[in-house]
Structures are given as C-alpha cells and as structure tokens.
Symmetry: C2
Subunit: 490 residues, 2 copies
C-alpha cells in the first residue's frame, strides 16, 4: 500500500490535484484540480447527473448562487447551530478543533458535539498542553463555520457563503414547484460549491474549506412516496446498523428484511445509492458500506441518517456522503422566517409542507475515492496502473505513432487522432519511446491506446491496446470508431 | 420590442433566471438559474469548451479554488487598484457608484476612472442631491470591490474571493507548464465563478456580484506566437476602432488591412472570437462588434484591448467579454511577490517571462444575449418563439402523445421518449391540448417536437415538427434517431 504522502505527490505530479495558490505557500484546506483532475471531475459530475436526474421525470437540476441571504441561515439553524469547538493556545498561534485534538491525543471516543465544559475537563484530566509551545490552552470556544460576506457599502448587509448546496433548492422550492408539473415527488439537484471555515482541514480534498457537492433534494408527501420497491426488495445492502456496531461487522441484508425498521421509500434509496457506487462507480462491494448514525450522532432534524462510506487506503472507511430524511424541518423553518407559505395541496385539497429526502454526495470525496482505489503498483509491468472505470477516465483513448521521426506515420496518427477526438476524449503523444508512452498512459488510466505503425501504411490497420490486459487487437481504421463505441459500453 | 421588465418576467416564468433567495426578498446582484436556465448554461459552457479548447492541442481546462491567497491580489494589483468611487448620502442609507450616478443624472460622458475631487466637483456643479431624501452627499470615497474571507480562527488570515478567474491560471502556470509538453503557446482555461462587490448591480445577470466566467489564458513567447493567419487574412471583422469612434459606425475590415496597427496573432484571435459568436452562437452579424478601447479606458497593463459586444434589445451594444493582451504584467507581478521564478527557457536557452493573451467571456452575459436575441413575438402563431441555436436549446426535442386518454398512444409515446433521451436532451409532455403544448414548446425553444398519434399505432411512424417553420415530416420510429442526428448537425 502506498503511503499517504507519496500518493498525494503522485496526484500532483500527474496533474490531478495540487495545493491552491501554491507559489504563495498554499492555503490550508484549498486545492486545485489540474488538467487531468478537471477532466475526471467533469466526467464524474456528468455521470452523477445521468444517474440521479434520470430516477424520475420530475427531477431537475438548478444552478443557484453560492452567496445567500442572511435569513436563509437563520431559518436553517446554521447561524445558531453550525458551530465548532475550538482550542486556542494561551500564548502562541496554535489552534485546533477540540474534538479532533482530543481524538488524536487520547483514547477517548465519540467526542463530537459535547458541551464546552466537557472538553475543558478532558483537556485538564489528560493534562494536555499546546503541542507547539507547551503553554496551557484557553477555555474551549465555539466558532461559527460559515464565511460571512459583506455586500454593498456603508450599511451592514451580511450574507453568507452557503455551507451546503441544499439550502438553494429549499429556498427555490415553491417557485420551481409552480414552474413544473405541480406534482410530488419533485427532485431539485445541484452540483456546486459549498464553503466551511474548517478549523483543521486535512487529508487533501477529503476535508476542505471550499468543496463541490452533488446533492439531490427530493420533496415528497410523507403520506405517499411511491417507489418501485418490488425492484429492490431482494437487493442486498452492505450495511452497518447501530445495533451491530459493537461487532464492527458490515452485514449483507436484503432490503425487505429491513422493512420493520425503515420505510420502503428509504430502503429503495439506500439501494439506489449503493447501486450507483457499485455498478456505476465500480467501487468493490467489500469497500462500500451504509453506516447508520445513532440519535446523538445525527442532526436533530434527521429522522433517518445513513452515512455513505468507502474504505480507503491508509484511512479506513471514510464518509463520502449521506442519505438524510430531513422531514419538514427545512421548509417549515423557511416558511416561518420568510413569512411566505411553502405549503402545497395534496389530492384531497389538504394543505401540507412537503418532507425532504436528501441524497448528499461530496464530489471531491468521490473523486478522491476513485483515484485511491484505482491506484495499483504493477510489479510485472514495473509501473503504476490507474484502473479507473473506463467511462470516467480523463481520456478514453490515446493515439501514438510508433516512432516520431517518420512523417508518414505521424501524419497518419494525427489524422486518426483528429477524427477520434470528435467522438471521444482522446490524447495524442509522440514524445519518447512507445514503451514509455504506454507506461505514462497506464499511470493516468487511459483504457485504450491506438498505435499507428509501419504496417498501418500498408494495411490501414492500427492496434488497440487494452490498459488492463495489455492485449493488442488489430483493427481497420475505417472500423475504429465503431469498435471503440462497443468497448465504451462493454 | 418587449420591455425590459416584461422580458425578465418571461425569463422567470419559464424557469430560466430568477432572483436568488427570493422568498427573503432577494439579494441585489444575485440570480439563480432555474431548470431551463441550467440546461442552457450547461450547453453553452460545453460549446465554449469544444470551441476554445480545440484551438490547440496544448490548451487545457483546470478547475481552481475561488478563495485565493491574500498575496495573489497584492501581486495582481487588485488590493491597490480594484476600487470603485462611491457616493453616500450624508443622512439616509442611499448609495451609488459616483460615475453611474453622474451618467444617469447629467449629460456628462467618459466618467469612469476619474479622480475623486473631479466627481465631487461635478456633483457640486450639477447641484445633485440624494434622490431619496434630498440631503447633500458625503465626499466620494473609494471602496475595494473584492470580498475578503477570514480563514481559521483567532489569527488574522485574510484571503479573497477571486474577482476574475484569470488569477488561478497565472498562479498555476509554472506547475502546469512543467506537467505538460513544456511548450508554448500553452492555454489554461477556466469556467468558474468570480465575485465583485458591485455598488450598483443592474440588468439582471449582466452586472452581478457573483457571476460565471469562461476565460482562456494563452501563455506565449512575444517573439514568436505562431498562428494560422493565412486562414483569416481575408476574413472581415466587425470592428469599431478608436479613430472611427466619432462616426459611431462599425466597419467591416479584412484582417490583413489591420496589420499595420495590430500583430497577426492578435488579429487571428479577434477573428476567432468573432467566428465563435457568429458561427457557433449564431449571433446576427450586425449585432456583433469588436470595440477598441483607448489608452484611458483600458487597464494600464493591457497593451491591446477590444471589448466583445453584442447589441441587445433596450440596452444597445453591451460588453460580453474582451480580448486582452496583458503582456507579462501578471506573471512578473506574481514572480516578484511570491519570489518564485516564473521564467522559462526559449529555444536558445534564454530565460524569459511568458506574455499572456486573455480571451475573457462572461457566461451569464452570453446566456442573456442568446435569450434576448432569441425572443420573438410571432403574431401569426399568437405566441412567443424562442429561436435559440438548436445545439444550445435546453431541450433538443420533445415527445407528445396526441391525446392523453388513450393508453396505447401514451404508452407508445413514453417508449419513444425513453429511447430518445438516451441520446438527446428530450422532454415529455401530455398535459393539455396538443396545440397548447406546441405553443409552450415554442416559448422555451424546443427545435423538434415528435408527436405520437392514432396512425402511429398502425404504421409505426411519428411526425417531427420544426420549431422555426412548423413544417411536419412523417418518419418511421426505427429511423427517428438517425433522422434527429442529421437534424442536429444540419
């Protein structure tokens, strides 16, 4: 297994992910995607769209501002509750999140969300001091994790960068409902940025201050949320329930066996999310689990909450997202503060406030997981292979002329490349030996390499080399596009 | 011509653009894209990518953080120079940009960038008072238009939301250069958000506080920037030069006729940008112009600067973007402040700092222009037609069952729809009469409507209706996909 730091260096060297503003020493918790990272991110976002927006004809994507009105967060509870406990050194500039600091320096567990006096007493009982200058700590304080934005001039007009994309669909719900079929369930999706003033950002893009979420908010009538449960009732979920937590063993349970604890519509969506990870993102089954949160761990408004977790190298099972039944908490809050009715009518002309099921996924976290699980050091080939799902790879194919100093060959290769790139994300490379080029292509996960060689000039055929097997197949240029089309869907 | 306010109501009603956080009264200068606006924006962004990233094999997209290090903006000059003159009322809360306020309330012209005393003397000589309470104004002040962000806790660690995407490629340049072919020209593109604390946001998405830019930064050696000038030398630019400004007449001039004033590589890119607007976005030629800025108008570091303008209803020629030759201003500034060498070697092993040509376009402004020019009230049909370029339309096609109470027909229509939407952005509608559905589809610019009728049940054929001509063609269902494919590229 590659060490964490070495893996992050690999990601930088290949142009996937590197620190933002790096020539200025970087900024903690901010990362940029290089040219390959950007292609992968775009493919991943489009894959998410294709999957989740196609779950229902009444699901739509919207694109909303990241800066939002002050009162949005009064209603959502973020101004009052979105707080982190911070430990400051009494002398030097050191600070950390109290719960993180305790977790790393003691054997204590379940440290999130305690009251401040409890943190102070734990610091005292473990005799913890500032790791930098050995001075005692100040009393633990709470700070709000949102970034305030002052709009305009002179007058105090505070807005906030949204800490989750979710609030935009909630605020826009009534208008979009009126614009659509006036029918539930209604899904509003956003792929967009969210911002949190993390006290201790860590693990590259897994905990950032600026990050991309892909969230689908499904508004539904709690008395009637029709789903095709029949289709998934025998589907087995990889699941770790609260009651099984002491065994630490993930179980494989058919949806129908959980009907006593969870409603059909919730189970249906657990299955849907798992299918996305296993079948679309190709995450190995044993590296995926749905992790149930207990009452203390989940937000007070979440009636059901399972984290979506992937097991990463070095880091173990890591939260990539969550499936949250938020009840009518959000819309009720916005109705109360905005004084705008967010109620709608059911089929019996009874007014009600829709409930919300949220499928929340971190784009950066999914992307990191894909790279983490794709990385393989292949001893036989003597190089790294990035074994990404082929539809997600930054480049689906590449064209190489066998040698670069034969104009007839490079010209032909350029022609093949120009033609392929109208259909496929395609890369062209003629520098260094063809062996080195194969190795470089392996490292960035290009599934198919097309090579133009001396024989091509005679028979108008090229070879297609498969990343995973290294098997080469000879194909007529005139049939190349169709052949790749079949491989894309194979 | 539709009145401005009425047009903006249309855009809201159809789900293109509406005020952000609207249930809280909105926030000045912030707008959300609804479901159709989002589809259109995504198509536009992908169209931009296809066009500009394909200009050269050495052009790449990156995806960088919006929050950037404090020193980025010290180096770029934004902390010192990115200021607007603000007029505050001495009594009430009224404020406005001094130059905008003077432009609207006097006959004065060329008011941007004057010194503060000049604004005060103009206010005095025109005897202007606060329009709200008639009190006198305070002295004009300068405020910085960037939004500061305080990271972490306790310590002052100020960063900024970037006011233009451009700074990310500048800061990332050296790293990306090393990761790529180590060859110039190198293009780094970003489609992303930028933020400005506009004093007086206006005209919907034309001047916002949070907006999306599509910018391509081309790094090149000023001694050798090879372009295919031959290809455009006879291409005629729609251009308004400084020297022709008093005539107010846009001229149509072949690129080669401008070779005395502008280098070939700059003319080549003027032609490229014009082709994008005319041939890809289908902006009518007479509604497009390249507007040269004079020395006072352009930023001091821009050696050549043409605004890219489109003539809009109600608003006249409006800036949509610009082509800026920024010299080595940016990289030199970052080198000086970061103390990191941003020099590279030319082919004679001479060190130099690359120069930058920036193609900067506002995504929101392009999108607004497309909608503005597409809007037509068709008296004959008695409804609005949104005549968007068909590759950009939110939906490329729609499927309608002729009637909704014949299960055989709706089932067939659903089947056709499910099949088409694997290839095309497709909409399904069975509510209300087919005539009303045609009208609604016209209003959101769906180029092709497929109708399943009683005959379909017998002959397995459907009709395709053309938005622009209303002409209907009957096609076999088995040939529908291919037919639409041809129409897509026609």
């Amino acid at each position: 297994m590659i060490a964490l730091e070495q893996f992050h260096t690999f990601l930088k060297k290949k142009g996937f992910i590197y620190p933002s503003s790096e020539i200025y020493g970087g900024v903690s918790g901010l990362y940029d995607y290089g040219h390959l990272g950007t292609l992968l991110k775009r493919n991943l976002e489009n894959t998410w769209r294709n999957f989740f927006l196609n779950l229902d004809q009444n699901y739509y994507e919207i694109d909303a501002c990241q800066i939002m009105h002050h009162d949005v967060f009064k209603a959502s509870g973020h101004i009052e509750h979105f707080l982190d406990p911070v430990l400051n050194c009494s002398k030097c500039a050191f600070f950390d999140r109290a719960d993180h600091f305790l977790a790393e320096n003691t054997e204590e567990q379940h440290l999130e969300g305690l009251n401040l006096k409890k943190y102070d007493s734990l610091i005292k009982s473990h005799k913890l001091k500032c790791p930098k200058c050995k001075s005692p700590f100040q009393q633990t304080k709470l700070i709000n994790m949102m970034f305030p934005i002052n709009l305009g001039t002179g007058q105090s007009n505070t807005a906030y960068l949204r800490p989750e994309t979710a609030q935009s669909p909630y605020v826009d719900f009534k208008l979009q409902y009126e614009l659509q079929r006036k029918k539930l369930p209604l899904g509003l999706a956003i792929i967009g940025k969210a911002f949190r003033n993390e006290i201790s950002p860590r693990n590259l893009t897994l905990r950032q201050r600026e990050f991309t979420q892909a969230e689908l908010q499904i508004f539904f009538n709690p008395e009637n949320f029709p789903t095709n449960f029949k289709k998934v009732e025998n589907y087995k979920l990889n699941i770790l329930l609260v009651k099984d937590r002491k065994t630490k063993k993930t179980k494989s349970l058919a949806c129908k066996s959980l009907k006593k604890q969870l409603p059909e519509w919730y189970l249906y969506h657990l299955a849907t999310v798992q299918k996305f990870f296993l079948e679309t993102l190709k995450i190995p089954k044993e590296k995926f689990r749905l992790f149930e949160l207990n009452k203390e761990e989940r937000a007070f408004y979440n009636k059901f909450h399972f984290d979506i977790e992937v097991e990463l190298n070095n880091l173990g099972f890591t939260e990539i997202g969550g499936l949250h039944y938020r009840t009518d908490h959000d819309l009720s809050g916005h109705q109360e503060v905005s004084k705008q009715s967010l109620e709608i009518m059911d089929e019996h002309n009874k007014k009600f406030i829709p409930h919300v099921l949220e499928i929340s996924l971190g784009v950066d976290r999914m992307l990191y997981s894909l790279l983490d699980l794709a990385y393989q050091e292949n001893k036989k080939r003597g190089n790294v292979i990035l074994s990404l799902p082929k539809k997600l790879s930054p480049f689906f194919c590449a064209v190489f002329p066998l040698v670069k100093n034969k104009p007839a060959i490079t010209k032909k290769a350029q022609k093949v490349y120009q033609d392929l790139k109208t259909c496929y994300s395609c890369f062209y490379d003629q520098t260094s030996s063809v062996g080195r080029r194969y190795a470089r292509a392996d490292e960035v996960g290009i599934p198919y390499i097309i090579t133009v060689d001396f024989d091509t000039l005679k028979d108008n055929k090229v070879t297609i080399r498969d990343l995973k097997t290294t098997k080469q197949t000879r194909v007529k240029i005139s049939e190349l596009k169709d052949k790749l089309f079949k491989l894309y869907f194979s």
